[in-house]
Symmetry: C2
Subunit: 533 residues, 2 copies
């Protein structure tokens, strides 16, 4: 059986192709296990574990749109860092939003690019951990006392709405807050509990424990990247593509759950350092390995790059990978979820079958995230939101020509322009879908690139074939391209086995996902989309 | 340029083949760098470093034919273990043999399977480190005193012979011996120096520092393997093949240097634990990872084994690899070296050109190691040396039929029988060469196997082709086999990149060497040799 067909070249080539594909799929899965090792543990911290958390620094590690994050350690597992997310808004509004976003997020399966919480509490937080509130004067505290009074009433109200799962946690509003000092050697706080302090220095806030410790938001990345964008546009725009790819992956994951984020903005997208690491030491979030402003010129797993000469310096690139960080979608407070009754309950289904589609809950939000992603492309490339700049655009059926052009700064600019236009298409039915946007970004990052498109065109021109054989030749060329890229990817993994450093990078994994699940059909489709006039 | 030929399937398949071959060659080289990391440092310990060595255990780690080995650590690099080799024989005879073997070994380039010393001394060794001498009574010491007197005279004699490079080291006979206790915290011995002890407890011996710490000899392995051979013949005989392959590699390496060992016996072949490890921690020789009597049924990188199902449990096998250990050829005291003048000096060449070949020095030893390797095959498979059992065999022109048959116990038995017969061929000109023996072992270990040979035959039979197209089909089949095996090897390396354990094993490296440098010609030749009737 083993050697059947060994005399047939075609059969052996087919088997090698199958082996490569199957192995890349397996490697993609193993990478996922490794990169999500901590997250898949399904940690749940109850109210009783709250006092075992200690902040490891007095300053926030990240200031996001809806919350401020502090790095913290858990006494029972002190080597792993966690983030304590302290929501910015006052308890009343936060709580409603938070339990709404909690309900939405709990309906989603785990995903690498979607924030996951390991526990949440209503807690009294020392005012010094809320530095942004200091400017707001003293009327704050009165508000809060009101809120706390209202809270007991609201509790039942929210239960009725079915938005709150953990009301026992919610009903304990006065949990002790972790202190900002590193924990003392004996594990006990050196000062009296902050709870005992004057009432004025504490604020009641929703706090969340998350496994992933963000070091900045994409807003920070874009702001800090302005000069890098001018200095090294190739690298900066490649990094933008890698972040957008992760964003699209996360958003694509939400589609089958009928969830739309509806508030995609730079400050709601968090960046987390990403080192696969060994299971023994899964989290070293303070290591800056992936965030160094390196000078790899868009190379990495780069598109056309092939041949053994190119794999030689792949090792040098391994540590200094292009991908700036793992992107995490946060703040689901504005998220819309299409009622699940639509599909489940047949009675409701019968009722709804008589309604116009735009009336069914959340249907009008279906392509909202696509649109917002289009705006993010402008903003990440340091251009203003076209609809903020020209608000009257939205008043009419604008065309692609009405959208401001993105400057052509790198290999990626034109493709990103094309993608932004497709995402900002005025008619939602004609607007590109998230799955296609993701495929476009993969194609921009790892090919096939323009030169192959041109080769495809050239073949067609010289041979002057019929439409049928043209399609056949196109398919062959794409299959050949895929075979070669898969071989190169396999070689990259093989060489990583002898690397002493961090091994497989996030970019390796993302590229492996692409090549493992691409086919000539998907490639052909995305090439057509990107070549649209 | 990148996409030239991307429309041609043949060209892409050819490029993938080239990429696989080139990458495997590069990986084989990188494996060598990793497995020989310590050895390639070219450490040389002078007499002055002798006092910085401390034995880490009071018992020998290995008792070989010519010497006893103790594990030792070097004060300036305490994490790395060394072996102290104390030669068994008394100084006079040892010295002659030792400096002869030193000269021979120094003429060889570094090799993974050939013992290398990092320094050698004449030292006074406490009698308790020479336990085998205790039974010999008290006349010992008188002998030694004589030896020490003779030594000064001999020194000059040996210089004349050009066999001694380090006479300054040799002229310091009374170096302090490392103590058998672990070094004290302050780095100073707790007792007075052994040199100060009564003269009677010290013996003057040649001692050698080696980087590789042997844990047993192949003789020990064979003795301990007797029951395993009966219980799990598939695994035991595969391990024998892996050891023989390493032996043949080492001996093949000696051929261009015109060196013949001439004393290949089980107790002169040492086994060293072999973990590639990271450069940061290159040596953990006490780790038993590779020596566990595991139950992997000859699988590992096993010959025909192919398909993704097989690679799935490759991970499980990674830690418990089949290869029992690294084999090191030791004791070059009987080695013969053909005078290098033959090739270099034209005057000598002219003189020698008139002599019959058997008269030129060491020419008669040319195929001696091949013969002794044939005997070792019998002994490693728990059969007596055929010429010890039937001494009269050598008196006549025996044929293969006269050699005792090896019992057919495993997949490997028949091939080993064939190889032993080829190595024991009475006429040295007809005897198989070392390079071919090495190729046979690779073929036995990793294929192509019988079933492919039969497929080759079947194709020939059904198609009834001419001799020419038969050869063409054979070549195609072998090339297809090689392409598929190389793909599988690449996949194995790729999967190792995500293994958390030791990563690439010695067996992976040995197999990679084979596949990287095999061609349809070499495969065809070895298949012919193993199929000889």
């Amino acid at each position: 059986i083993l050697y059947r067909g060994m005399d047939s070249w075609e059969e052996v080539v087919g088997r090698i192709r199958t082996l490569h594909t199957d192995t890349l799929r397996k490697l993609a899965t193993r990478c996922e296990d490794r990169f999500m090792a901590g997250q898949k543990d399904h940690l749940r911290f109850g109210t009783d574990s709250w006092s075992h958390f200690r902040l490891t620094a007095g300053k926030p590690c990240c200031e996001a749109g809806d919350a401020v994050y502090y790095t913290a350690s858990y006494a029972k597992d002190p080597l792993v860092n966690y983030a304590i997310k302290i929501c910015r808004s006052k308890v009343k509004e936060t709580q409603q939003q938070f339990f709404h976003s909690l309900a939405v997020r709990q309906s989603l399966a785990l995903h690498f690019n979607i924030q996951q919480d390991c526990g949440h509490f209503l807690a009294d937080v020392p005012a010094r951990l809320l530095p942004w509130e200091e400017t707001q004067g003293g009327d704050e505290e009165d508000d809060e006392e009101e809120e706390e009074e209202e809270e007991e009433e609201q509790g039942e109200e929210e239960d009725v709405e079915g938005q709150m799962k953990k009301d026992d946690e919610k009903r304990k509003p006065a949990n002790r807050t972790p202190d900002a000092r590193p924990s003392a050697a004996d594990g006990r706080p050196e000062e009296p509990s902050p709870h005992m302090n004057s009432r004025g220095s504490l604020r009641s806030r929703v706090v969340v424990i998350t496994r992933e410790v963000p070091f900045q938001t994409v807003a920070d990345f874009v702001r800090q990247g302005a000069s890098r964008h001018a200095r090294n546009p190739e690298l900066y725009e490649r990094q933008v593509c890698l972040l957008l790819l992760q964003l699209c992956s996360g958003l694509e994951h939400m589609k089958p759950h009928h969830v739309t984020h509806c508030d995609l903005r730079l400050e709601n997208l968090l960046l987390v350092h990403c080192l696969p690491g060994s299971p023994a030491n899964p989290a070293e979030p303070n290591n800056n390995n992936n965030n160094q402003g390196n000078a790899v010129g868009g190379g990495g797993g780069g598109g056309g790059g092939s041949g053994p000469a190119n794999t030689a310096n792949a090792n040098a690139n391994a540590a200094a990978a292009t991908c700036p960080a793992r992107l995490i979608i946060s703040n689901f407070s504005q998220a819309k979820q299409k009622s699940r009754l639509t599909a489940g309950d047949t009675g409701t289904l019968r009722d709804q079958s008589r309604l116009a589609p735009e009336i069914i809950t959340a249907t009008q939000y279906r392509k909202c995230d696509e649109f917002q992603t289009g705006i993010l492309i402008y903003e990440m490339l340091h251009r203003p939101n076209p609809f903020e700049e020209t608000p009257e655009l939205k008043e009419r059926e604008y065309t692609w020509a009405d959208l401001p052009p993105l400057p052509l700064r790198s290999l990626y600019s034109q493709g990103l322009q094309q993608l932004a236009s497709l995402l900002l298409t005025v008619n939602p039915s004609e607007r590109i879908r998230m799955v296609e946007a993701r495929a476009c970004l993969q194609c921009l990052l790892w090919g096939p690139r323009e030169d192959l498109f041109q080769a495809l065109g050239a073949t067609a021109a010289t041979a002057q074939p019929t439409a049928v054989s043209d399609a056949g030749q196109r398919e062959t060329t794409l299959q050949n391209w895929l075979d070669l890229k898969r071989t190169l990817m396999m070689i990259k993994f093989a060489e990583r086995s002898l690397d002493t450093g961090s091994g497989v990078s996030l970019e390796d994994w993302l590229c492996c996902q692409y090549l493992a699940f691409a086919s000539t059909e998907t490639l052909s489709r995305v090439v057509n989309i990107l070549q649209q006039p």
